[in-house]
């Protein structure tokens, strides 16, 4: 069963149409497929490579280079915790311990219910309001363990 639906292919084609070369659309293409399927499996990598007329190895080289292309399944909500210098000064490490304890996962892991994945990230550009985390593209700043618990509870309700 092919993974790329006609709707996805249309989105990919639109990116290719505005690109100078088919290959130049590959980062956008993987982001599109990931939006639909959650991550880039071996099967979807092969199909995307085929669609872009790239070799799978070539596309794999690109996929593994960038932070936000996932070659393993992730949870519904990816929690990015900033581990750069301002958040370090403001104590991200103890926040990270709290998050890991609360969710029962370490960095790089996903909760058993498939809801949350915890990943480290470089400076989120919220340094004046450190520590900072990002969940599904949503930024949370001046974070305390209590605030984190409230935020996570609201995601659980939403899920």
């Amino acid at each position: 069963m092919p993974l790329l639906t006609d709707a996805m292919k249309q989105e990919l084609q639109a990116e290719i149409d505005r690109s100078e070369t088919r290959k130049a659309a590959c980062i956008e293409a993987m982001q599109i497929v990931q939006r639909h399927l959650g991550w880039i499996s071996d099967e979807s990598l092969l199909e995307i490579a085929d669609f872009l007329q790239m070799t799978p190895d070539e596309l794999e080289g690109v996929a593994t280079f960038y932070n936000h292309i996932y070659r393993k399944p992730v949870g519904k909500y990816v929690i990015l915790i900033c581990d750069s210098v301002c958040c370090w000064i403001m104590g991200y490490e103890s926040l990270q311990e709290h998050i890991a304890r609360t969710l029962g996962i370490r960095l790089g892991e996903t909760t058993a219910d498939g809801l949350f994945t915890l990943l480290p990230i470089q400076c989120l550009g919220a340094c004046a309001r450190a520590p900072a985390i990002m969940i599904r593209g949503e930024l949370y700043t001046d974070l305390t363990p209590e605030r984190f618990d409230e935020i996570i509870a609201s995601y659980r309700r939403e899920a």
């Binding site: 070369t21 290959k23 982001q31 960038y66 932070n67 750069s84 370090w88 000064i89 470089q122 550009g125």
Partner: protein
């Protein structure tokens, strides 16, 4: 005296940015109109030269020189890129400019493209800047609808397409040659600067790349003139500058101030000084890849030349304050860990040297350091000095390390002597 703040005049903290109509009401797109209907590309570059605008991406390279270095008879289409990757730890000025006034950046991109005769433009933005992406997308659509982008702009015969590229994330993408590779759909690996990108860049065509803040200055210089721009500043470099402060200061934040504002004024007045119970130990004046400065340097004017004379760099103007209750070795370890992780792996000194530096620092912090570690770290700063690697990531990573070895010597030695971190 009223202080002029052209870059942030339209920005309401916490509010929505101006729509295109509102932006036009306060004089927006007048500069594009002026340039496209009454100036030649060479005249635009002349105004930039007189204004002495220097690039705000970190290196302070004169914008007019960059724009003027595209050979007149070189290939077309040419490309123009706004570097909105902003991943230098401590730095968030471009995010605020894009979220707060997206049309200002678009106007700068249009003028820069006209001056360099580029027909295709990109804003290369980092993945995490989701709000800025949303606002830029809307603003770009408005600019197309109103004829500021697309074919035959304002009837001038000038055409320009603008695409917002959302990166999939890596610090190295902000480096000019790596960014171009990334747009071409490759791993973002820097390459040699010969030939220059202004001759042979994206898809082999002349390509000009500027920082977001640099470009946001451009419409104002066109509207109000080079002399007005130079007079905004307190020093030899013209204009205002977005400065920020983070760490344990009372009011961490971001301010548009005259170029050359003293470091002390930024920390003590704008950021409100240190928090109760904390003393200032050292400062990084311009983001994670700049040398530490000490209390004794606080009177330095924050301009490219003066900060360099004090032994560091203005960088992005993002001040990071180290307080006396935070371990300087732990901080340098965090910085080198960042750089080690972000190395693209292309050249050996950087690929091998940065993880080595990070692991030595970690050992010292954990009480496992030995006296020879300090000479090894010193050797590494020499191995990754400017000119020994393809790009400036590794030399940049050595700036905090080299200055830490100089200024925090006693702290390093105490860690090694006592086999523990005195701050823990």
């Amino acid at each position: 005296m009223t202080v002029e703040r052209p870059l942030t005049a339209n920005i309401q903290p916490g509010g929505e940015p101006l729509s295109l109509r509102e932006y036009e009401k306060v004089g927006g797109y007048q500069a594009v109109r002026k340039v496209l209907t009454s100036m030649t590309p060479a005249q635009v570059i002349d105004v930039m030269r007189e204004s002495d605008l220097k690039g705000r991406g970190g290196a302070g390279f004169p914008t007019a020189v960059k724009w003027g270095s595209v050979p007149l008879d070189s290939k077309k289409p040419r490309h123009f890129i706004a570097d909105a990757d902003e991943m230098e730890p401590g730095t968030f000025k471009d995010r605020v400019l894009m979220e707060g006034d997206p049309h200002q950046l678009i106007e700068g991109v249009i003028i820069g493209s006209f001056a360099t005769e580029a027909e295709s433009a990109f804003i290369f933005i980092r993945w995490e800047y989701t709000l800025a992406q949303k606002r830029l997308r809307r603003a770009i659509a408005e600019a197309y609808e109103n004829g500021y982008l697309g074919k035959n702009i304002l009837g001038s015969g000038f055409n320009l397409g603008l695409h917002l590229h959302v990166s999939a994330g890596r610090y190295i993408c902000g480096e000019g040659t790596a960014l171009v590779r990334s747009l071409e759909g490759d791993r973002a690996i820097p390459h040699s600067r010969v030939p220059r990108q202004t001759e042979c860049g994206l898809w082999g065509k002349p390509t000009i790349l500027n920082n977001v803040e640099t470009l946001c200055n451009v419409p104002h210089i066109i509207n109000k003139g080079a002399e007005w721009f130079r007079d905004l500043s307190l020093c030899e470099d013209g204009g205002t500058k977005m400065y920020s402060a983070s760490g344990r200061v009372k009011r961490p934040g971001l301010w548009e101030l005259p170029m050359g504002t003293p470091l002390r004024e930024i920390i003590e007045e704008h950021a409100g000084g240190m928090r109760e119970g904390y003393r200032l130990k050292a400062v990084m004046p311009g983001g994670a890849s700049t040398d530490f400065l000490l209390e004794e340097h606080l009177d330095v004017p924050m301009s490219f030349g003066s900060v360099q004379k004090a032994g560091s760099r203005l960088g992005t103007g993002a001040v990071i304050v180290l307080d006396d209750k935070t371990c300087p070795i732990g901080m340098v370890h965090n910085l080198e860990y960042f750089f080690a992780h972000e190395s693209c792996g292309w050249c050996t000194p950087c690929r091998e040297g940065l993880p080595w530096a990070a692991s030595i620092l970690q050992a010292i912090e954990n009480g496992k350091g030995i006296p020879e570690d300090l000479s090894t770290l010193e050797k590494l700063t020499w191995m990754m000095a400017p000119g020994r690697t393809f790009c400036a990531l590794a030399p940049g990573a050595m700036e905090p390390l080299g200055s830490a070895l100089k200024y925090f010597r006693e702290d390093f030695e105490q860690h090694i002597r006592e086999k523990r971190c005195p701050w823990r």
